[in-house]
């Protein structure tokens, strides 16, 4: 039955849970993660290594292993170009392939190894175009040239004829972005796309992504552990810790007044420009380590490292994700008390 609702979000992740059966027990990589993403929006998923942010990205692409050891629950609804809404997790292989690259594309962390060393850049872009669109080779090449031009690549024709090892990291990442954009996807998953690059190149790539996004109204999921990158690119932020969302909201608000102690610590552990440290003043760090997913602490998974933890409150039950402001969520038993 058709309902007169506003447009569904482009990407709707609902209660996503990913577990791996390991020899030592069940490993919860991602637990009950939900978020929505509208057209032209950028969502940053932030967390330490092992927080489940990359697994979330892979799940959206349908790239998780399909063996019996991997258990995936929840739904990932994607509105395709044709307007139909599909649950990526329940698509048949054939349909899933049609979605990949076409409706939703991905760029990876390491531009060094995400290009096949034995093919020229041109043939790799052309191949991506031909994967989903029926075009003549010449047209595909023209498309590739235009794309590279758009991405600010000097003399694109020369780049097309080069091989991956002849290009710099920044150039390769541009090529990867060109490949990802070649079928004009509606959403892009960027898994630490600038981590392997120099800071100056990082800034260029980020600016580039932002521009492309503005021009195409593409939605972007930006997976990163780099908070300064988040401030630069994202509209909304989702902070993950040990496989769960611990805080979510508009970037500005979260950065200005973080509610969850973990987010606070994260933000405080950033070196600030303009803040001159007294000599010997250490940079603040979060004590302890991310818990092993095999032995998660009881209650709030962050409480062993939390400066605000109270025995009997934080180590009892896992706090739920609460709405602390109109569009903000926080998972902390004591968020009302601490300030």
């Amino acid at each position: 039955m058709q309902q007169a609702t506003p447009d569904p979000p482009l990407l709707d992740v609902e209660a996503l849970t990913v577990c791996y059966r390991a020899r030592a027990g069940l490993v919860h990589a991602v637990s009950d993660v939900s978020f929505q993403l509208g057209q032209g929006e950028t969502l940053a998923i932030v967390g330490e290594s092992g927080s489940g942010k990359s697994t979330t990205g892979l799940a959206i692409m349908g790239l998780l292993p399909t063996d019996r050891r991997t258990i995936v629950h929840g739904a990932i609804r994607l509105t395709s170009k044709s307007g139909s809404v599909n649950d990526v997790l329940r698509l048949a292989d054939r349909e899933r392939r049609r979605v990949r690259g076409n409706d939703i594309a991905m760029i990876f962390q390491d531009p060094m190894s995400s290009l096949n060393p034995i093919y020229s850049i041109g043939s790799q872009i052309v191949e991506a175009v031909e994967q989903h669109r029926r075009v003549a080779r010449r047209e595909a090449i023209a498309d590739a040239l235009r794309l590279l031009g758009q991405l600010g690549v000097p003399s694109p024709d020369r780049i097309l004829a080069s091989y991956p090892h002849q290009l710099s990291g920044g150039m390769r990442q541009r090529v990867m972005i060109a490949i990802a954009l070649s079928c004009r996807p509606r959403a892009l998953i960027a898994d630490e796309p600038t981590t392997a690059l120099d800071v100056t190149i990082q800034a260029q790539i980020l600016a580039l992504l932002k521009r492309v996004q503005r021009e195409t109204a593409m939605a972007v999921v930006f997976i990163t552990h780099n908070l300064s990158v988040v401030a630069e690119v994202a509209d909304r932020i989702v902070v993950m810790y040990a496989g769960r969302i611990v805080e979510a909201g508009p970037v500005r608000e979260v950065f200005k007044s973080p509610r969850m102690p973990y987010t606070r610590s994260l933000l405080r552990s950033l070196p600030r420009l303009g803040h001159v440290p007294r000599s010997g003043e250490p940079l603040e760090a979060i004590p302890g380590n991310v818990p092993s997913p095999l032995a998660l602490p009881s209650g709030c998974t962050f409480h062993p490292r939390c400066p605000h933890q109270v025995a009997g409150v934080c180590d009892g039950l896992m706090p739920g994700l609460e709405r602390c402001a109109p569009n903000r969520l926080v998972r902390c038993a004591r968020w009302r008390e601490i300030d």
Binding site: M61, L63, D67, R97, R98, V99, R100, G101, N102, A105, M106, F108, D110, S113, S114, L115, N116, P117, I118, Y119, E127, A128, Q131, H132, M176, I179
Partner: protein, 259 residues
């Protein structure tokens, strides 16, 4: 690149043997299968390497033997590739149950001595050109499959494979376009080694009387027939023996130069 000389030496030998095989009719002074009344002659100006027990010119048979040797060797390596590569690719790329099935089969074959296995099968199917190629190919496919599987296992983990999956490629397409071409270099080397192995195994089978049926000139058979007349004319055995050794060495050097 320290192995460059090995590749060059191997390639030169292979090219030379191929050239001899290609122009055999021009090079050979006599018809290889034409017998004469001059039997078991020792080397002379008219018959450089002498004649065999049927009065056939040994040099001519040696030259034509290159053809037989190459056809068998390359043919067998081709059969091994045709069987081994798809199986290795399937096991290495998909892993899981297919691989669990493939690995023990490969191990089983690899554990058995190729010559003995080839001997038994040849006894069962009977010696002929075609059978020899098929049998040798069948005996050698597991080595090929093992190499391809190992490489496929490595390549499938590369980010560009993940990227290809993320771009919506089918498994068959990804294997054909991204996995196989990255393995091909090593496979080419393995083919050369397989040719050398097939050549020597074929010669051994011929020597045991289970190889190429007469009257086709083939080196293994020539070594065998010359064996009875070693005291009279050593070249009768030694020349085809040396030819086999050099050819095998050529392919092996060329193949093993590629790591």
């Amino acid at each position: 690149m320290m192995k460059n000389w090995r590749f060059l030496a191997g390639a030169s030998i292979v090219v030379a043997v191929m050239a001899v095989a290609a122009v055999a009719p021009i090079l050979a002074p006599y018809e290889p299968n034409k017998s004469s009344v001059f039997m078991l002659e020792t080397p002379s100006a008219t018959h450089w390497l002498g004649t065999d027990e049927l009065g056939r010119d040994i040099l001519s048979r040696l030259i034509y033997g290159a053809r037989t040797s190459l056809v068998i060797g390359i043919g067998a390596a081709g059969v091994a590739l045709l069987i081994g590569a798809p199986i290795g690719l399937a096991g290495g790329y998909f892993r899981g149950r297919i691989d669990l099935l493939i690995v023990p089969v490969i191990d089983l074959f690899v554990a058995m001595p190729a010559l003995i296995l080839a001997l038994i099968i040849t006894v069962m199917v009977g010696p002929s050109h075609k059978n020899l190629i098929l049998v040798l190919g069948f005996v050698m496919w597991p080595t090929m499959a093992r190499l391809v599987r190992g490489q496929a296992l490595v390549i499938r983990e590369a980010t560009y494979i993940e990227a290809a999956v993320a771009a919506g490629g089918t498994s068959a397409w990804i294997i054909r376009r991204h996995v196989w071409p990255n393995i091909m270099r090593l496979v080419a080397a393995q083919i050369a080694i397989a040719v050398s192995l097939a050549t020597i195994t074929a010669a051994s089978l011929s020597f045991l009387g289970l190889g190429i049926p007469p009257p086709t000139a083939d080196w293994g058979g020539m070594v065998r027939s010359g064996f009875d007349y070693l005291a009279l004319n050593p070249a009768m055995s030694l020349a085809p023996g040396a030819a086999t050794t050099i050819t095998v060495l050529g392919f092996y050097l060329g193949g093993s130069a590629v790591e």
